[in-house]
C-alpha cells in the first residue's frame, strides 16, 4: 500500500516537472511506462536512420557526377551518425546496444515504413531527400523540444545536419526539372510514387493513434500526427510548384477558410500492410541488415580480443 502511494507521489512530481518544461535526465525517477515508450520510440527512430541508409546506398555507385556522389555519400554517412546518436540516447534508459540490434534483426522492433519502398531511379534519390527527409525534419524539429534530455539533445544535433539532406535532394530535382523531357518524366514518376508514402510517415491519424494522447501529456510529442502532416503539406506545395511537378492528389487545394491545404484520403490499408511486413522491400531490408551484422561479427570479436590482449600485456609489463 505505501509503495503505491509513493509511486503516485513520484508520478505527480514527475508530471509537475514535465508540465514546468523541465527536462527529464537519465538518472531522474520516471514512470516505467515513460521509460518503455521512450526506448521504443528512440530505438525505432535509430533503426530508421540505419535502415534508411539502404535505399540511398543503392545509388552511391551510380550517382551521375562526382558532386552528386560526394553529397550522397556524406548524407548516408550522416544517417549512420544519426543512428548512433539515437542508440546512445536509448542506452541512457538502461537498454544496451546489443539488445537494440537484436530487436531490429529479429524483426521485433519496427523502423519507419518509408524505407520499405524501393529507389528505382536517380530521381528517387532527389525525391527521398526532398520529401522523406523533409517529412522527417518536421517531426525532428518538434522533437528538439521533447521532454527527455538526451533525446532532445540528439535531435538538436540531427536537425543541424538534416537541412543539407533536403537541399541536396531538391537540387537534384531542380536539375532534372530543367533537363530533357525524359528527365522531367522521371521526376514526375518519382514524385507520384513517394508522395503518399511520405504523408504516411507521420503515422496514423489522431483518431486512430493509440499512443498519442499519453505521449503528448508526457511532452514526448509536442504536436499531433495530423498537425505535423498538415504543416508538411502546406510547406511542400509551393516547392512542388517551383519544380513544375504535380502532386498526385486531385483533392489537394488551398482552403481559404482553414488557411491550409486540403488533401485527399490516405490509403491506410497500404500503410498497415507495409507496417506488418508486406511492403515491397521489407524482407530484403532486414536480410541485408542481418547479413551486414553477421559479416561484421568476426571484426567486432577480433577487435575486442586484440584490445584485451594488449591491455593484459601492458598490465604485465607494468607489474614487471
Amino acid at each position: 500500500m505505501t509503495k503505491s502511494i509513493n509511486i503516485a507521489k513520484l508520478e505527480a512530481r514527475f508530471q509537475a516537472k514535465v508540465d514546468a518544461e523541465q527536462k527529464i535526465e537519465p538518472k531522474d525517477w520516471m514512470p516505467e511506462a515513460y521509460r518503455k515508450t521512450l526506448i521504443r520510440q528512440i530505438s525505432q527512430h535509430a533503426h530508421s536512420e540505419v535502415v534508411g541508409m539502404l535505399p540511398e546506398g543503392n545509388w552511391i555507385l551510380r550517382a551521375p557526377s562526382l558532386r552528386r556522389k560526394v553529397a550522397l555519400l556524406a548524407k548516408v554517412q550522416d544517417e549512420a551518425g544519426h543512428g548512433l546518436y539515437l542508440y546512445s540516447a536509448a542506452e541512457t534508459l538502461g537498454i544496451n546496444r546489443d539488445e537494440l540490434f537484436e530487436q531490429l534483426l529479429t524483426g521485433k522492433a519496427k523502423y519507419s515504413s518509408i524505407f520499405n519502398y524501393p529507389t528505382q531511379t536517380w530521381a528517387d534519390i532527389g525525391t527521398v531527400g526532398w520529401l522523406v527527409d523533409g517529412a522527417a525534419i518536421m517531426n525532428q524539429v518538434m522533437l528538439t523540444r521533447t521532454s527527455y534530455g538526451p533525446y532532445a539533445r540528439a535531435m538538436v544535433r540531427i536537425c543541424k545536419e538534416e537541412s543539407f539532406h533536403q537541399r541536396q535532394g531538391y537540387e537534384i530535382l531542380l536539375a532534372l526539372s530543367q533537363g530533357t523531357e525524359e528527365q522531367r518524366k522521371m521526376l514526375q514518376d518519382a514524385v507520384n510514387r513517394w508522395w503518399w508514402p511520405s504523408l504516411m510517415m507521420f503515422g496514423p491519424s489522431d483518431a486512430e493513434s493509440t499512443h498519442s494522447a499519453q505521449s503528448m501529456a508526457w511532452k514526448i510529442k509536442r504536436k499531433s500526427n495530423d498537425q505535423l502532416r498538415q504543416e508538411f503539406v502546406d510547406a511542400t506545395v509551393r516547392q512542388a510548384e517551383y519544380l513544375g511537378v504535380t502532386l498526385p492528389d486531385p483533392d489537394l487545394k488551398w482552403n481559404e477558410e482553414r488557411g491550409h491545404y486540403d488533401f485527399g484520403k490516405i490509403n491506410w490499408d497500404e500503410f498497415w500492410a507495409v507496417v506488418k511486413g508486406r511492403g515491397p522491400c521489407n524482407k530484403n531490408r532486414l536480410k541485408t541488415r542481418r547479413k551486414a551484422h553477421e559479416n561484421g561479427a568476426w571484426v567486432r570479436e577480433a577487435a575486442m580480443a586484440h584490445a584485451e590482449k594488449r591491455a593484459a600485456r601492458q598490465k604485465e609489463e607494468g607489474i614487471a
Partner: protein
C-alpha cells in the same frame, strides 16, 4: 550475437580554443584509441571540434538526483551573492 560487447565511452569536445570540453554523447569502442577515432568520425564531421576527450562511461562517478539535499546548504547562503549588499547608486558601478 557477439560474445562480448564493446565498452561504452563518453565523448567530450572542445569546439574552439578558449572554451571548455563539453559532453556531446557516447559511443562504443574496444579501447581508447578506437574511441577517439570513432568520436572524430561521429561527432566532428563538420569541424565541431579542436580537441576530444573520451572516458570509459564506467569510470564516471555521479551524484544521485534523489540526493538533492547536497545542494541545500548553498540555497540558504544568499550573502554569497553581490545583490545581498546595499551600495548607494552614487558610488557608481561596483
Amino acid at each position: 550475437m557477439d560474445k562480448k560487447s564493446w565498452p561504452l565511452w563518453e565523448v567530450f569536445i572542445r569546439s574552439k580554443s578558449g572554451l571548455q570540453h563539453k559532453h556531446v554523447g557516447s559511443l562504443h569502442a574496444v579501447d581508447a584509441q578506437m574511441a577517439l577515432e570513432n568520436a572524430r568520425d561521429v561527432y566532428t564531421r563538420r569541424n565541431e571540434g579542436l580537441s576530444i576527450w573520451v572516458i570509459p562511461s564506467s569510470q564516471i562517478v555521479a551524484s544521485e538526483p534523489e540526493d538533492e539535499y547536497i545542494f541545500e546548504a548553498a540555497k540558504s547562503k544568499v550573502y554569497r551573492h553581490p545583490t545581498f549588499y546595499d551600495i548607494p547608486d552614487e558610488v557608481g558601478h561596483m
